[in-house]
Symmetry: C2
Subunit: 383 residues, 2 copies
């Protein structure tokens, strides 16, 4: 499972002492080859963490031999010294593994605005390298958790090749990219360009369409590494679909583990004039705090859906809007539809369909409810 | 005080039985002249309640003789029958008061998607008309409350003239306009055009810059009525300033009474390339749920300010951002500044200054923290 499901990869996850709790906080994923092709997608936040700035440069070369990931600190808003810390991390890993630092990607997650304890991190890298194993994927997935309650892994199999991956993320799930660190690996024999096309296509309709709390991270990183160890060159469409499946699976795991959430909410916008407008409307609904509270209270408050739609500039006529909640059309032609008491909201998943009656395009956005537990998790301590 | 502070106005507030609770739910404000000039500003939500659609038409004529306001139901998303209900309300008030229905503004607040109990409302109008009084402003202010814990009134005095007003609003405070019903009255002798200019200028920098939860209402209405009863034609600038003061005062009362809030947060964006960008950045910070939770927990988590700024397209360099919280510059040049432990956050008001270092423009946005009480108020029952 995880990043070691595909051939040609080893991984490790250890407790380096970065987290005060003493829990696992450092992961190492190594591409053992024969190839080291790679693609990456990063946060669109203009305030980017040092490891994002570093890894963006690394990925321009299309080669990644190893990824160092730490929890316990985001290394964001730490200025030039923070960037030097990331650089030193890559240099240290490169020295241990016998690669160039320019092929070492780095990803960090945790509190913004604090320097990492570099002595512990660098010393931990040595320990992690000693523990590298072709069965280390699960330990790596555990080491990147922050407020995640479970670690997240997924695998898809092709004809003679495999795509596997791990993800962390629970808090700042958002647009552009949900806050997350994701490493995907494959033993397929594909060049960086093919990986990049598959990865961008997959993230656009998966990670990019989950929005737990509307907040975008400074550290989002999704990497796809290919070892070529299967010696199979898959069909591009089949490969892209496998990458999409793994991203979709991991994205669903992120939503189900979102901080404090008690409901998973699937918002499908149909009848839109364009896919872009469907996404815009879906996101606006997903970010409406009043609606998210109502759904937490199992109240099918469709008026809050309409008031959210009304703040967008998508094409629609207010008198032609239809809204269904869990299959009951509570709003018809912009007005009262079926009896809201018919809506059964006891289950964790809530399905909202908003029909703009303005075209044929659609999109699905996933979000969560807003709960007192979310407030507690994000107010009781710095994260 | 309130809408009867200025000469030439009478008002009433009664319990008409619209609210299940039996509390006051119907207000009537009458301009007794000699003039009936008026201006209005309405929600920019494209899903507009029936009374907004009606009153927008009324205000085009620049004359308002009376305003009927009800709590207990928003009359939004109620289709053509809901619009007919508003029309019937205006007709009934016009008949009682001896005016044209085209001079009767209507405003409603409460749950979206339910028809109003028209028999109770129309019968209540008769009772309200009987109770009209030059001292009825406070009762009117009480009758428009929904989840407001206090009623809100304000007055400013000019040289021989007065501006007074009342407001309700606590939940969907937001952009465009914070959710609210506001009626301002003045005995100044001014034409509709002068009122309109003063009102638009005032709302732009007051109600339009408070944003409690990012949600925009379908029912926002701000009206300014002039009776001319003072027979004084004030200087336009002095009058505009008085209107701005009353709006600012009422806006602050709205923020202090926002649902579940325990902190009032003043976000000043300085060093912006334009006022528009200052407002955009301020609003984006104001809507960041993670920051609002942190401030609730008295955690000066400036990283969440930077991550919010980073999602805007305003002009700035991430390495030139400065953030102060309650006077302590916790972020300097995009990185760690003074010790965050120096920030005293025990008091209800929190002041954040974000310096974009990109120009000389600035703006102030007010918001609240996000609390478990907010979640409870908005999930425990429909509103």
């Amino acid at each position: 499972m995880s990043v070691t499901a595909a051939k040609g990869f080893s991984a490790a996850g250890i407790a380096a002492g970065i987290k005060d709790s003493g829990g696992p906080d450092l992961a190492l994923v190594v591409n053992d080859g024969p190839r080291a092709e790679a693609a990456g997608v990063f946060t669109s936040n203009r305030v980017k963490a040092a490891p994002v700035l570093w890894s963006e440069q690394v990925l321009k070369g299309g080669r990644v031999s190893a990824v160092v990931l730490n929890s316990g600190g985001a290394n964001a808003c730490t200025g030039a010294p923070g960037f030097q810390d990331t650089h030193a991390t890559a240099e240290k890993a490169a020295g241990i593994l016998g690669h160039s630092a320019g092929e070492i990607a780095v990803a960090s997650t945790g509190l913004i605005g604090l320097r990492l304890p570099m002595d512990k991190l660098l010393s931990g890298l040595g320990t992690a390298a000693e523990q590298l194993s072709a069965h280390g994927g699960e330990k790596a997935a555990i080491a990147i958790k922050t407020t995640d309650t479970v670690h997240k892994t997924a695998v898809a199999e092709g004809a003679g090749w495999t795509v596997g991956g791990m993800a962390k993320g629970a808090g700042m799930l958002a647009p552009g990219l949900a806050t997350m660190l994701v490493v995907l690996t494959t033993d397929a024999d594909l060049p960086a360009g093919a990986l990049d096309a598959a990865l961008r296509d997959a993230t656009r309709t998966t990670f990019d369409r989950i929005d737990s709390d509307g907040c975008m991270s400074t550290n989002d990183t999704v990497l796809l590494l290919a070892s070529g160890a299967s010696e199979v060159v898959p069909d591009q469409a089949e490969f892209a679909e496998a990458v999409r499946k793994v991203c979709d699976d991991l994205g669903q795991q992120l939503i189900r583990d979102a901080e404090g959430a008690s409901k998973d909410i699937r918002i499908e916008v149909v009848g839109a004039a364009s896919e872009q407008e469907a996404v815009q409307v879906g996101r606006t609904i997903a970010r409406n705090n009043l609606l998210k509270c109502a759904l937490h209270g199992e109240d099918p408050n469709w008026g809050r859906v309409l008031s959210a739609i009304g703040t967008t500039d998508a094409v629609f006529d207010p008198d032609q809007l239809n809204v269904s909640i869990n299959g009951v059309q509570v709003c018809r032609a912009g007005s009262v539809g079926e009896d809201r008491d018919k809506v059964d909201m006891r289950y964790r998943e809530i399905r909202i369909t908003a029909d703009l009656s303005a075209g044929t395009e659609s999109a699905v956005i996933w979000t969560n409810d807003l709960t007192a537990d979310y407030v507690h998790e994000n107010s009781a301590y710095s994260s």
